[in-house]
């Protein structure tokens, strides 16, 4: 999820170039026809070469979990002139095959994890860091400081949803604990004020900080082999 930058007074519009780089999509912008890596958000060729798109925080979750978080959400309409779009995952065979890494037979660059292990990936100022789902399933709440950033990583095992927040709120650094379901909502508490927060939206719902919201940090979900391919020096979190 990227912010579309304004170039010569109007926001760029992006299209699918049909090209691949490192087994991943290359986008182009319709205004300058520069080519952009979909993974790093950097223009790799053309007039805007070297320019970098700003990530916007998004969350990968299930429809049920999202609706619970945001009942007033808008949803991209599936109805088109050609009927309903996307009634199933057209890539399910690719997802299901643990041995197929990319289309050209990419090797897993680091077999300490299976190539198709899902990871939450984050790029900070000087480092990239990956949180493998298998580790998060065992410890779904992580208070971390990486690259000088105090971060909170949360994982819902039921919906395989991972989200990353800053633990800084105004001048305070919070520490979180006690991830649990209250009814249908996943919630946590902070140690410092004992406020209760909705885990996946980062919104305080009870206690002294009720009504405040944690800043979500942009992260992505991807296969391990691809993340490691783009970020060879990535750190890998372990419980």
């Amino acid at each position: 999820m990227y912010v579309r930058p304004t170039v010569e007074g109007k926001p760029l519009n992006f299209g699918v170039s049909g090209k691949l780089w490192k087994d991943a999509l290359i986008m182009y912008d319709r205004e300058t026809f520069s080519l952009w890596s979909h993974v790093t958000g950097t223009a790799v060729k053309g007039k805007l070469s070297g320019m970098r798109l700003r990530l916007y925080p998004a969350i990968h979750t299930t429809w049920t979990e999202w609706k619970q978080l945001y009942p007033d959400s808008l949803v991209l309409d599936k109805r088109s002139g050609l009927g309903l779009e996307g009634t199933r995952n057209v890539y399910d065979t690719y997802f299901a095959n643990p041995n197929q890494l990319g289309i050209f037979g990419t090797e897993n660059p680091d077999t300490s994890l299976p190539g198709k292990e899902f990871v939450i990936g984050l790029t900070l100022d000087t480092v990239a860091v990956a949180y493998p789902y298998r580790h998060l399933s065992r410890q779904p709440l992580v208070n971390e400081t990486v690259d000088g950033r105090a971060m909170l990583v949360l994982f819902s095992t039921e919906s395989a949803t991972g989200v990353v927040f800053s633990r800084k709120l105004a001048n305070r650094t919070l520490t979180f604990t006690n991830l649990r379901r209250e009814g249908k909502n996943l919630v946590i508490d902070d140690v410092e004020t004992k406020s209760t927060w909705r885990a996946l939206s980062g919104e305080a719902v009870r206690g002294r900080l009720a009504g405040t919201r944690l800043e979500q940090l942009p992260s992505t979900v991807g296969f391990w082999f691809a993340w490691k391919g783009f970020y060879p020096d990535t750190l890998v979190w372990k419980p």
Binding site: N13, V16, G18, T64, S73, L74, V90
Partner: protein, 104 residues
Amino acid sequence: MRCVRWLSVLAAAMAVFAASASGAAEPDVIQGSPILTVLPMDAIPALDNPKYVPATEADRFMRPDEPVLGITDGKTAKAYSAWQLNHHEIVNDTLGNLPLAVTW
């Protein structure tokens, strides 16, 4: 980071394009990796002017466990079915006044 998913579906078509590309000029190499042309530009159409429905109405076409990509600015929340995004890869959209490229 939606590496290679659409390509695996289009493997047959790709093989044809890859073969024809191999006879053409050398591909651009960026940071040691080639940029490969596997489909014509816009063969997968990015979505412009996206239309939305409220969550209650979306229940008619969304499945409970369907993967979605969700965003919010604290005022508006928007969700995109990952299965639907497979057909477009990119949505040129806005959230409030902020122009966004919806993609992952």
